[in-house]
Symmetry: C2
Subunit: 474 residues, 2 copies
């Protein structure tokens, strides 16, 4: 164990050195290698004879060397960024105590923590008598939300199948593609996921929703589910929940909110208005691994009323797992689509203890301020064009050539090339998207350590890359 401790301490030192160097101005966000090149560099064969623990350290070093620094303040690519020491600590303990969440008996503390976390998240959403569960990601939470909706409207499907019913679900055209995956998986069919028009800000248009519901009724289909979004993936739009809730109530549909990205605005007194009406909906997706900075995966499905999760998700017939003992009411497994389930509770627990409600509020408020700063920067820069006025932490813009080049495909090509060059050089990791036919740069502010100077560096590097691409005639 002495040697083991030495080796693990060495790993701790390597990891901290890696994270610390995220802050050095000269550190690249990625040491980019094309896949076929990296494949050549790494020896990826698995051995017949094992090696010592100490011999694993060089593998760890090379893993660190070629990993993308998602903790860097120049990583804006996805809906998460930053690094979490309490999260790392939690994952060490979680893997050492390695258990599964299906019954209280084998995961006593983690089960109590999960129940308490769900209670707190529900309280933020406004579900006073709710239930919930940690699941395997935001996509999975959306799926479970849709399954709850199906169970509400068509409970017999659990035993009998969908039968002749042609279920129809509704989301905005800006909603996450996980809804399409869910419609596929659940045998509903992607064509029966109706994409409702959204407005210029990316918000679902309630009148368009109602028209779509009526259309599907006129086709003798069975509308059952509306999937609203709080923080869309590209624009960061929040669908208008109060208006949508009136419609879902009128037609008896399940209303789910995908809050994977936007939910933590609920920590902020200043910005929680974006989620006004959240208490009116039936279920809610919350990803703590996005804006709350917990290591992936840390997702919850929250449900307003108790009882439906177990009815919708359980499979029955499991003598060997679920015993009718004194702790049975605490068991979480029968609400889950999983059997063995990793403890994702401790990492959220330790992060929440570390930051506190106020810490999360400050982080959210600070990132909104930075978003405001970024928007001003773009609007005051001749080379940059804002694509939509952001309401959240997604800043969508594009680089505009200095010469009055108006051919849209050339501008698209230029922006694609800028992004590529920034990644190749390791200066910035930022994503592109297509919006209203245009290639745009999507700047995501998710890293709680972000400062104005990081944004200035980002824009400087991006504009320089743009000028260079222009100069060499890309």
């Amino acid at each position: 164990m002495k040697d083991t401790q030495t080796t693990l301490n060495k790993a701790v030192a390597l990891i901290l050195q890696y994270l610390e160097s995220n802050w050095h101005p000269e550190t690249k966000v990625v040491n980019y290698q094309a896949a076929d090149v990296l494949q050549e560099k790494l020896d990826l064969s698995l051995p017949d004879e094992g090696v010592t623990l100490e011999e694993l350290i060089p593998i760890v070093e090379s893993y660190l060397q070629y990993s993308v620094r998602t903790g860097s303040t120049q990583f804006f690519n996805l809906l998460f960024s930053g690094s979490s020491i309490p999260g790392i600590l939690a994952e060490m303990v979680t893997s050492a105590t390695n258990t599964t969440m299906h019954t209280y008996d084998v995961a006593p503390v983690a089960t109590l923590m999960e129940r308490e976390l769900i209670k707190n998240l529900n309280s933020l959403v406004g579900f006073q008598q709710g239930e919930g569960l940690m699941v395997t990601g935001g996509s999975n939470a959306n799926l479970v939300g849709m399954l709850c909706g199906r169970h509400k409207v068509l409970p017999e499907a659990k035993l009998k199948g969908l039968g002749h019913h042609r279920l129809v679900a509704f989301v905005s055209e800006q909603a996450h593609y996980s809804y399409a995956k869910a419609a596929n998986l659940m045998g509903i069919g992607i064509e029966n996921l109706v994409k409702v028009n959204s407005d210029r800000e990316g918000k679902m248009i309630p009148e368009a929703l109602e028209a779509a519901i009526q259309q599907s009724l006129s086709e003798r289909k069975t509308p059952f589910f509306v999937g609203a979004t709080a923080g869309t993936t590209v624009l960061g739009a929040f669908d208008p929940l109060p208006e949508i809730a009136v419609i879902t109530k009128k037609y008896g549909l399940w209303l789910h909110v995908d809050g994977a990205w936007g939910a933590p605005v609920l920590f902020s007194k200043k910005h929680q208005h974006l989620l006004a009406g959240s208490e009116l909906v039936n279920s809610f997706t919350w990803d703590a691994h996005k804006l709350m900075g917990v290591p992936l995966i840390c997702s919850a499905i929250l449900v307003k009323n108790q009882g439906i999760l177990q009815k919708a998700c359980s499979g029955g017939g499991t003598d060997y797992l679920f015993h009718d003992d004194e702790n049975a009411p605490y068991n979480l497994g029968q609400m889950s689509l999983q059997c063995g389930r990793k403890v994702d509770t401790l990492k959220l627990w330790l992060c929440w203890q570390y930051y506190g409600n106020k810490g999360y509020e400050q982080q959210v408020d600070k990132l909104f301020d930075l978003a405001h700063y970024a928007v001003n920067y773009i609007q005051n820069c001749d080379n940059l064009e804002l694509i939509a006025e952001p309401k959240f932490l997604n800043i969508c813009f594009r680089y505009i050539p200095q010469e009055n080049q108006l051919d849209s495909t050339v501008i698209d090509q230029l922006n694609l090339e800028i992004r590529k060059q920034l990644i190749y050089s390791g200066e910035i990791f930022v994503n592109q998207a297509r919006y209203q036919g245009k290639i745009i740069i999507r700047l995501i502010l998710a890293n709680s350590e972000l400062q104005k100077a990081d944004l200035e560096k980002f824009f400087d590097n991006l504009i320089n890359a743009g000028k260079m691409c222009e100069a060499i005639g890309v």
Copy 2:
């Protein structure tokens, strides 16, 4: 960072102390507390103001204090046991480099590792041109297998839904309940999951399968999927794949194998015959967090022929995620039901490096020898009755009273009570199940550190508990 390093090193020391004490003979496998009692003992409120990293250490200590020691050699409760230092090391690095598996660009090394791991697992199964993916658990892998089967037989369901088709799937009556969850989720209906009779050893009876398929055809239903099992949950039975494959081929059905528990016999030249015919099937579930000792969750879905995973699982329409760049052929996300996906690759990678193929072979062979020893022990003990001759690492037996008490419900009660007392006292964590109407004790041999002496201790404690329960007239 200095303080951070000190705190994380303290956590390493605590964890190693915790794991080391698993080996002390006086260490209890659980410090059992009923849920309501433990809830009182722990302060589970979340704060407004955050705390320091150092202040998280007492939380970690209390987490360790009340966690079940799944790493103990007296933990026989589930299909995993033991602790994995390479796995803990990997989870530290994984959480520090925190990324998602959907594209090569953001997870370069982990993506290449995953592809290599899948290739190696496929090679063990006998899928020479296969594909595959890490998924969120064995249940999820079975679900994806069933979805691939649906896509093979009814590809139009992806866009159109199930329509009027009444799909029917077949598993043995001993199969895992995740198949029922999948039938529910996929809109097929649990009643359309036909449970085929199994023989005395728990193996699916091929003639019964064919009769069930013909029955469903005669009812104008659409058979599409057979879910065989390699290592059933209670008895550890291996369904006869060659005979089943003849039938699925004849009727054009997808043949999936749930090898969540039994797959690693493929490492053993001596025992791989249990999975004879694995190369004949269409898809395969492999849980590396069970017999391979990797921390939860580490599961793979393996598919014999390339192309179907993406067709079956993708949702389409994701400009902002999947770019058509030079690394696109390496991206794994479009084969997945998830969007954000934790790296489960590094922990399997480091464990496999650490043990090597031979190490895993030795572990499997050793556990089979211990199973043989346990069976002999039971057969030579007047107080114990073997329920079925095991073919794998599940030893199902029960305690039999010394007085010639024949009332079956009394024996059931006695065995329930024995198990409860062993957990309350913290001496043993072992599971019960019901088989052929009887309450049985299911001893699972999954811990690679297990020795004969541990089994002797187990039987001694169990028999003593039985005698005590008898004495006090339970």
